[in-house]
Amino acid sequence: GNSQSGSGSGSGDGKAKVKLALNWVPEPEFGGFYAAREDGSFAKHNLDVEILPGGAGVPVVQMVAGGQADFGISGADEILTARARGANVVGVFAIYQRAPLAIMARGDRIQSMADVFASGTVALEPGLAYSLFLKKKYGFDKVKIVPYDGGVARFLAENDYAQQCFVTSEPIAVKKKGASPKVFLVADEGFNPYQGVVIVSQATWQSKAELVKRFVLASREGWQKYLDDPSKANGVMAKLNTAMDAETFAEAAKAQKDLISTAETAQKGLGAMTKDRWETIAKQLVELGVVEKAPNVDEAFAVL
């Protein structure tokens, strides 16, 4: 029984009630969806979207594949991995054209990503594809690798300490404490999976393509609005996420703008994806040993 979440079922006023599962709490990285909800884009497309924010560990892919949510947010690498394991989800809209994944470090010594792995301690979440990529590229033999603990306290407390980050999040937090981190995007190193990808289950995609299409259109409008003026959606999200202040919201929204809106999206619209990029990722995942053989990327994403 996988579709009991009422995907697309009509609500009182004829709108389809759907659930969008986030993989983190309300932050600018989801700003477009809140904008779509607040400014009526979802309503315009006859959607009644319930946004479900979650903790860092929520199993979004499994929930979408299992039908507990109609839409979810994930990354291209995770989507391909999930498909390789039999969790058939499809990416339909990519917020980040360039991955906001980065390494931040402190100290004069460090001028490049290579310097990060020359000595000291680096905090990386175990199992992440990009950490495998960095390992392959730079080798981890000169540094101590510790698990990313979800915070930034140690970054400030310890010298010669680098850690993974989202360019829109941790660097801003430590800057507020007076530190000046050096931030290196993983995308610049050659690993650049789409991030903030809206996913649906294969079943939903096949049976309710129309609904999915409406969702994508609404999201695109919402994101455009958010890029134009994030303040209103930020205000809404700030109420839901009290750990972050208004200033941080604004800075984060600014910091991510270039990663979302690129020359390509100017052409094809926000959220666009290309088969080339997906194939590159698939190849890289095989090289990194995350998956045994490259999944068929044609089924993994859909351009609307």
């Binding site: 479900l52 924010p53 979650g54 507990q68 915070g151 930034v152 839901l240």
Partner: protein
Amino acid sequence: MRDAPSSLANSLFLRTARSAASKTLPPFVALVVFLLTWEIGVRWLGVAAYLLPPPSAILSAAKRDAINLLMGAWTTAKTALFGFALSGVLGVLAAVILSSARVIERAFYPYTVFLQTVPIVAIAPILAVWFGPGFLAVSVCAFIVSVFPVIANTVTGLRSVDPALKDLFRLYGASRWASLVKLTLPSALPNIVTGLRIAGGLSVIGTLVGELFAGFSEGAPGLGIVVQTAAKQLKTDLLFAAVFSATFLGLLLFGVVNAVGSRVLGRWHPSEKLDQSEIES
């Protein structure tokens, strides 16, 4: 002469007040001393506030974010309480079944350890898919984290029944049910209470962790989410305010278990007996 009753009432009042004071004063004094030491220690040693903020900073963060903390605490409390109740009921039940025959105990008791060692990350997807994300799934996390101490303590209690009393019940042909209700469970009560004392704290931490893995909430994010977001934003003061809110929930459960425990155990069990000195004075 006419003052006698009122002076009696007075002394009774004084006594009650003194007894209440003797119960609430020590933890209060301890708390104050502890917080002062912390405040001074942190300032003196120059511990960075983003590692360990002084209590004053935590307090002002708590004031600043009072509403969110309260709402978060409410979300977490509901969930933890339900998980705790599940642990209490199912834990005692499981222990009773385990103790019903040596073979069953031998066969299954060891595997209950699994409940204690399984990381939530491993089962969160199953829970989220089976129970739907949110309240129920998180409660089940709290249950899984907190049930083993109830089982282990109840099993010890059920096993420790005075063999002579067992003989007595056997002699009078008591049914299994009667023996359980009238002998074994009452004998095991002190142990069950201890199990619940432990389960109280564990159900709170189980909820905090569960919220990160199986909790979705639009309205009021639980304390677990507050802790995680505060860590990410380096709001260590808020983080500790949330941690202490969680501890406060744990303390509430602890207090409730203690109160119910000493009511039920009453005067008969030595673990609840007052000191000689307290009787005398």
